[in-house]
Protein backbone atom coordinates (compact mmCIF):
# COMPACT_ATOMS: atom_id res chain seq x y z
CA UNK A 1 0.00 0.00 0.00
CA UNK A 2 1.39 3.40 -0.96
CA UNK A 3 0.47 6.75 0.48
CA UNK A 4 1.53 10.07 -0.93
CA UNK A 5 2.70 13.19 0.82
CA UNK A 6 3.43 16.71 -0.31
CA UNK A 7 6.85 15.54 -1.41
CA UNK A 8 5.27 13.76 -4.38
CA UNK A 9 3.24 16.76 -5.52
CA UNK A 10 4.12 18.84 -8.57
CA UNK A 11 2.58 21.65 -10.54
CA UNK A 12 3.24 22.18 -14.22
CA UNK A 13 2.39 24.84 -16.74
CA UNK A 14 1.62 23.35 -20.15
CA UNK A 15 2.78 25.80 -22.80
CA UNK A 16 0.82 25.68 -26.01
CA UNK A 17 2.08 27.23 -29.19
CA UNK A 18 0.11 27.29 -32.43
CA UNK A 19 1.23 24.41 -34.66
CA UNK A 20 3.75 23.03 -32.18
CA UNK A 21 3.72 20.30 -29.55
CA UNK A 22 2.92 21.30 -25.99
CA UNK A 23 5.83 21.87 -23.63
CA UNK A 24 5.51 21.02 -19.98
CA UNK A 25 7.21 23.41 -17.60
CA UNK A 26 7.51 22.51 -13.94
CA UNK A 27 6.73 25.33 -11.57
CA UNK A 28 9.43 25.43 -8.92
CA UNK A 29 8.94 26.13 -5.23
CA UNK A 30 5.29 25.19 -5.05
CA UNK A 31 4.32 24.90 -1.42
CA UNK A 32 0.88 23.43 -1.92
CA UNK A 33 -1.86 22.94 -4.42
CA UNK A 34 -5.46 21.92 -4.09
CA UNK A 35 -8.30 21.23 -6.44
CA UNK A 36 -11.98 21.17 -5.67
CA UNK A 37 -14.83 20.03 -7.88
CA UNK A 38 -18.43 20.63 -6.99
CA UNK A 39 -21.67 19.64 -8.66
CA UNK A 40 -24.69 21.91 -8.65
CA UNK A 41 -28.07 20.32 -8.25
CA UNK A 42 -31.61 21.48 -8.78
CA UNK A 43 -34.44 20.14 -6.70
CA UNK A 44 -37.09 18.07 -8.43
CA UNK A 45 -38.99 17.43 -5.24
CA UNK A 46 -42.74 17.72 -5.58
CA UNK A 47 -45.63 18.18 -3.19
CA UNK A 48 -46.17 15.19 -0.92
CA UNK A 49 -42.57 13.95 -1.24
CA UNK A 50 -40.77 13.87 2.07
CA UNK A 51 -37.15 13.61 0.99
CA UNK A 52 -35.11 15.74 -1.36
CA UNK A 53 -34.79 14.62 -4.95
CA UNK A 54 -32.23 16.25 -7.22
CA UNK A 55 -30.99 16.41 -10.76
CA UNK A 56 -27.38 17.43 -11.43
CA UNK A 57 -27.12 20.38 -13.79
CA UNK A 58 -23.58 21.65 -13.58
CA UNK A 59 -20.10 21.21 -12.29
CA UNK A 60 -17.50 23.68 -11.18
CA UNK A 61 -13.82 22.95 -10.68
CA UNK A 62 -11.62 25.37 -8.84
CA UNK A 63 -8.22 25.21 -7.29
CA UNK A 64 -5.48 27.06 -5.56
CA UNK A 65 -1.77 26.90 -5.01
CA UNK A 66 0.92 28.72 -3.09
CA UNK A 67 4.19 29.42 -4.85
CA UNK A 68 7.25 30.85 -3.16
CA UNK A 69 8.79 33.84 -4.91
CA UNK A 70 12.52 33.37 -5.26
CA UNK A 71 15.47 33.90 -7.59
CA UNK A 72 18.15 31.34 -8.43
CA UNK A 73 20.58 34.18 -9.06
CA UNK A 74 19.98 37.31 -7.08
CA UNK A 75 18.84 40.09 -9.36
CA UNK A 76 17.69 37.81 -12.17
CA UNK A 77 14.20 36.41 -12.72
CA UNK A 78 15.52 33.74 -15.08
CA UNK A 79 15.40 30.18 -13.77
CA UNK A 80 16.94 27.00 -15.11
CA UNK A 81 15.65 25.92 -18.49
CA UNK A 82 12.30 24.15 -18.35
CA UNK A 83 11.40 25.60 -14.97
CA UNK A 84 8.85 28.25 -14.13
CA UNK A 85 8.55 30.47 -11.11
CA UNK A 86 5.87 32.39 -9.29
CA UNK A 87 6.40 35.10 -11.92
CA UNK A 88 5.00 32.73 -14.55
CA UNK A 89 1.63 33.01 -12.87
CA UNK A 90 2.00 36.54 -11.55
CA UNK A 91 2.63 37.91 -15.03
CA UNK A 92 -0.51 36.32 -16.37
CA UNK A 93 -2.73 38.76 -14.57
CA UNK A 94 -0.46 41.44 -13.11
CA UNK A 95 0.57 43.24 -16.28
CA UNK A 96 1.82 46.61 -17.23
CA UNK A 97 -0.20 48.79 -19.53
CA UNK A 98 -0.51 47.69 -23.10
CA UNK A 99 -0.14 50.40 -25.74
CA UNK A 100 -3.02 48.93 -27.75
CA UNK A 101 -5.54 49.37 -24.94
CA UNK A 102 -5.94 52.87 -23.49
CA UNK A 103 -4.98 52.74 -19.79
CA UNK A 104 -5.44 48.97 -19.82
CA UNK A 105 -3.76 45.67 -20.44
CA UNK A 106 -4.80 42.45 -22.15
CA UNK A 107 -6.88 40.02 -20.11
CA UNK A 108 -5.63 37.03 -22.09
CA UNK A 109 -3.89 34.52 -19.87
CA UNK A 110 -2.62 32.37 -22.71
CA UNK A 111 -0.38 34.66 -24.75
CA UNK A 112 1.08 31.93 -26.96
CA UNK A 113 -2.11 30.24 -28.08
CA UNK A 114 -4.68 32.67 -29.39
CA UNK A 115 -7.72 30.34 -29.77
CA UNK A 116 -8.16 30.25 -26.01
CA UNK A 117 -7.62 32.86 -23.35
CA UNK A 118 -7.24 30.29 -20.58
CA UNK A 119 -4.01 28.33 -20.12
CA UNK A 120 -3.30 24.72 -19.24
CA UNK A 121 -1.81 23.41 -16.02
CA UNK A 122 -1.12 19.96 -14.69
CA UNK A 123 -1.53 18.98 -11.06
CA UNK A 124 0.52 15.87 -10.51
CA UNK A 125 1.15 13.20 -7.93
CA UNK A 126 4.46 11.55 -8.72
CA UNK A 127 3.84 7.84 -8.14
CA UNK A 128 7.05 6.90 -9.99
CA UNK A 129 5.11 5.75 -13.07
CA UNK A 130 5.92 7.41 -16.42
CA UNK A 131 3.34 10.17 -16.23
CA UNK A 132 2.36 9.87 -12.60
CA UNK A 133 -1.20 10.60 -11.63
CA UNK A 134 -2.41 13.93 -12.91
CA UNK A 135 -5.22 16.31 -13.71
CA UNK A 136 -4.72 18.52 -16.74
CA UNK A 137 -7.01 21.48 -16.92
CA UNK A 138 -7.42 24.73 -18.72
CA UNK A 139 -7.76 27.47 -16.17
CA UNK A 140 -8.17 31.15 -15.60
CA UNK A 141 -6.39 32.65 -12.63
CA UNK A 142 -9.06 34.48 -10.71
CA UNK A 143 -6.97 35.82 -7.89
CA UNK A 144 -3.34 36.24 -7.01
CA UNK A 145 -2.19 37.58 -3.72
CA UNK A 146 1.50 38.29 -3.35
CA UNK A 147 2.35 38.97 0.23
CA UNK A 148 5.44 40.02 2.06
CA UNK A 149 5.91 40.18 5.79
CA UNK A 150 8.71 40.25 8.32
CA UNK A 151 9.82 36.78 9.28
CA UNK A 152 8.30 35.07 6.26
CA UNK A 153 9.32 34.40 2.67
CA UNK A 154 7.52 36.15 -0.15
CA UNK A 155 4.88 33.91 -1.63
CA UNK A 156 2.01 34.13 -4.06
CA UNK A 157 -1.35 32.63 -3.25
CA UNK A 158 -3.03 31.76 -6.53
CA UNK A 159 -6.63 30.82 -7.09
CA UNK A 160 -7.86 29.48 -10.38
CA UNK A 161 -11.07 28.38 -12.01
CA UNK A 162 -11.28 25.57 -14.53
CA UNK A 163 -12.55 26.43 -18.03
CA UNK A 164 -14.87 23.56 -18.94
CA UNK A 165 -14.12 20.06 -17.71
CA UNK A 166 -10.50 19.01 -17.11
CA UNK A 167 -8.65 18.24 -20.35
CA UNK A 168 -7.17 14.97 -19.09
CA UNK A 169 -7.60 13.07 -15.87
CA UNK A 170 -5.66 10.07 -14.62
CA UNK A 171 -6.01 9.98 -10.91
Amino acid sequence: MAYFTGATGKLFLIKETDGEDDTVVEIAAVQNWSVSSSVSLISTKTLSQTDDVFTPVGRSTTGSCRILYYQETLGSKTLSSGTGSASTFLNKIIKQRDSTIPSGASLDQNELFSPTKAFKIRLKIDDTSDNGKFIDMRVFITNISLSMSVGDVVAADVQFQCQGAPVAVDI
Partner: protein, 142 residues
Protein backbone atom coordinates in the same frame (compact mmCIF):
# COMPACT_ATOMS: atom_id res chain seq x y z
CA UNK B 1 -58.25 18.28 -23.71
CA UNK B 2 -56.81 16.81 -20.57
CA UNK B 3 -54.72 19.04 -18.37
CA UNK B 4 -51.20 17.51 -18.15
CA UNK B 5 -51.12 15.09 -15.23
CA UNK B 6 -48.76 12.41 -16.52
CA UNK B 7 -45.06 12.63 -17.27
CA UNK B 8 -43.79 11.64 -20.69
CA UNK B 9 -41.80 8.75 -19.24
CA UNK B 10 -44.61 7.68 -16.92
CA UNK B 11 -45.56 8.71 -13.42
CA UNK B 12 -47.72 11.55 -12.19
CA UNK B 13 -46.88 15.13 -12.99
CA UNK B 14 -47.12 16.65 -9.54
CA UNK B 15 -46.58 20.35 -8.83
CA UNK B 16 -43.84 21.46 -6.47
CA UNK B 17 -45.92 24.37 -5.19
CA UNK B 18 -49.59 25.24 -5.28
CA UNK B 19 -51.59 28.24 -4.18
CA UNK B 20 -55.34 28.43 -4.12
CA UNK B 21 -57.61 31.39 -3.67
CA UNK B 22 -61.14 30.33 -2.88
CA UNK B 23 -62.92 33.05 -4.85
CA UNK B 24 -66.16 34.62 -3.65
CA UNK B 25 -69.92 34.58 -4.08
CA UNK B 26 -71.28 37.27 -6.37
CA UNK B 27 -71.99 39.97 -3.85
CA UNK B 28 -72.55 43.65 -4.43
CA UNK B 29 -71.98 46.01 -1.58
CA UNK B 30 -73.66 49.37 -1.18
CA UNK B 31 -72.92 52.02 1.35
CA UNK B 32 -75.83 54.10 2.60
CA UNK B 33 -75.44 57.77 3.36
CA UNK B 34 -75.53 57.02 7.07
CA UNK B 35 -72.55 54.67 6.59
CA UNK B 36 -74.50 51.46 6.91
CA UNK B 37 -73.39 48.67 4.55
CA UNK B 38 -75.90 46.73 2.46
CA UNK B 39 -74.94 43.63 0.58
CA UNK B 40 -76.91 41.95 -2.16
CA UNK B 41 -76.19 38.33 -3.02
CA UNK B 42 -76.68 37.78 -6.76
CA UNK B 43 -75.87 34.11 -7.00
CA UNK B 44 -75.74 30.91 -5.05
CA UNK B 45 -72.39 29.63 -6.28
CA UNK B 46 -68.91 30.68 -5.36
CA UNK B 47 -66.81 31.63 -8.34
CA UNK B 48 -63.51 33.11 -9.44
CA UNK B 49 -61.34 30.51 -7.69
CA UNK B 50 -57.71 30.90 -8.59
CA UNK B 51 -55.28 28.02 -8.70
CA UNK B 52 -51.62 28.61 -9.31
CA UNK B 53 -49.43 25.59 -9.94
CA UNK B 54 -45.64 25.58 -10.11
CA UNK B 55 -43.79 22.66 -11.57
CA UNK B 56 -40.16 23.30 -10.64
CA UNK B 57 -37.28 21.90 -12.66
CA UNK B 58 -39.31 19.46 -14.72
CA UNK B 59 -38.05 17.99 -17.96
CA UNK B 60 -38.60 20.11 -21.05
CA UNK B 61 -40.70 17.39 -22.69
CA UNK B 62 -43.11 17.64 -19.75
CA UNK B 63 -43.04 21.44 -19.78
CA UNK B 64 -43.99 21.30 -23.42
CA UNK B 65 -47.20 19.48 -22.49
CA UNK B 66 -48.51 22.62 -20.83
CA UNK B 67 -47.78 24.68 -23.93
CA UNK B 68 -49.53 22.09 -26.09
CA UNK B 69 -52.52 22.03 -23.76
CA UNK B 70 -52.70 25.82 -23.75
CA UNK B 71 -52.93 25.62 -27.52
CA UNK B 72 -55.52 22.83 -27.42
CA UNK B 73 -57.87 24.86 -25.28
CA UNK B 74 -57.24 27.94 -27.39
CA UNK B 75 -55.54 29.88 -24.67
CA UNK B 76 -57.87 31.41 -22.15
CA UNK B 77 -60.98 30.56 -24.19
CA UNK B 78 -62.03 26.98 -23.43
CA UNK B 79 -62.48 25.40 -20.01
CA UNK B 80 -61.22 22.06 -18.77
CA UNK B 81 -61.36 19.81 -15.75
CA UNK B 82 -58.42 18.85 -13.54
CA UNK B 83 -58.93 15.13 -13.79
CA UNK B 84 -57.90 12.18 -11.70
CA UNK B 85 -55.42 9.64 -13.00
CA UNK B 86 -57.44 7.07 -14.94
CA UNK B 87 -58.83 4.32 -12.76
CA UNK B 88 -57.77 5.99 -9.51
CA UNK B 89 -58.99 8.73 -7.21
CA UNK B 90 -55.61 10.46 -7.34
CA UNK B 91 -55.62 13.96 -8.70
CA UNK B 92 -51.94 14.90 -9.32
CA UNK B 93 -52.69 18.62 -9.17
CA UNK B 94 -54.01 18.19 -5.62
CA UNK B 95 -51.38 15.78 -4.32
CA UNK B 96 -50.24 16.66 -0.82
CA UNK B 97 -53.60 18.22 0.09
CA UNK B 98 -55.12 16.09 2.80
CA UNK B 99 -58.45 17.86 2.94
CA UNK B 100 -61.41 17.14 0.70
CA UNK B 101 -60.36 17.43 -2.95
CA UNK B 102 -63.56 19.32 -3.78
CA UNK B 103 -62.31 22.18 -1.64
CA UNK B 104 -59.62 22.89 -4.20
CA UNK B 105 -62.00 22.53 -7.12
CA UNK B 106 -63.23 25.23 -9.38
CA UNK B 107 -66.77 25.03 -8.12
CA UNK B 108 -68.54 25.26 -4.80
CA UNK B 109 -68.14 21.87 -3.09
CA UNK B 110 -71.17 19.72 -3.74
CA UNK B 111 -72.36 21.71 -6.73
CA UNK B 112 -71.68 21.25 -10.43
CA UNK B 113 -69.13 23.38 -12.20
CA UNK B 114 -65.56 22.31 -11.66
CA UNK B 115 -64.08 23.84 -14.75
CA UNK B 116 -60.95 25.86 -14.91
CA UNK B 117 -59.55 27.96 -17.70
CA UNK B 118 -56.16 29.56 -18.09
CA UNK B 119 -55.94 32.99 -16.53
CA UNK B 120 -52.91 33.67 -18.70
CA UNK B 121 -50.32 31.80 -20.70
CA UNK B 122 -48.14 29.24 -18.89
CA UNK B 123 -44.80 30.73 -17.94
CA UNK B 124 -41.82 28.57 -18.77
CA UNK B 125 -38.43 29.44 -17.32
CA UNK B 126 -35.45 27.45 -18.52
CA UNK B 127 -33.33 26.62 -15.49
CA UNK B 128 -30.84 24.20 -17.02
CA UNK B 129 -30.31 22.26 -20.18
CA UNK B 130 -33.41 20.10 -20.58
CA UNK B 131 -35.04 21.42 -17.41
CA UNK B 132 -37.63 24.14 -16.99
CA UNK B 133 -39.88 25.57 -14.35
CA UNK B 134 -43.47 26.00 -15.42
CA UNK B 135 -45.99 28.22 -13.68
CA UNK B 136 -49.64 27.85 -14.60
CA UNK B 137 -52.35 30.22 -13.38
CA UNK B 138 -55.89 28.93 -13.63
CA UNK B 139 -59.20 30.55 -12.83
CA UNK B 140 -62.43 28.75 -11.99
CA UNK B 141 -65.52 29.37 -14.08
CA UNK B 142 -69.03 28.01 -13.68
Amino acid sequence: MTFPITKTNGGDLVPSARTFESGDYPVKTYKAQNGAEHRVLYGSNRTNMKLSLTYANIRDVDAEKFLDHYDEVQGTFKTFVLENVEGTDINPTCVGWEGNQDALGAGTPGTPGKDYRYEGPPQVAQVASGRSTVTVNLIGVL
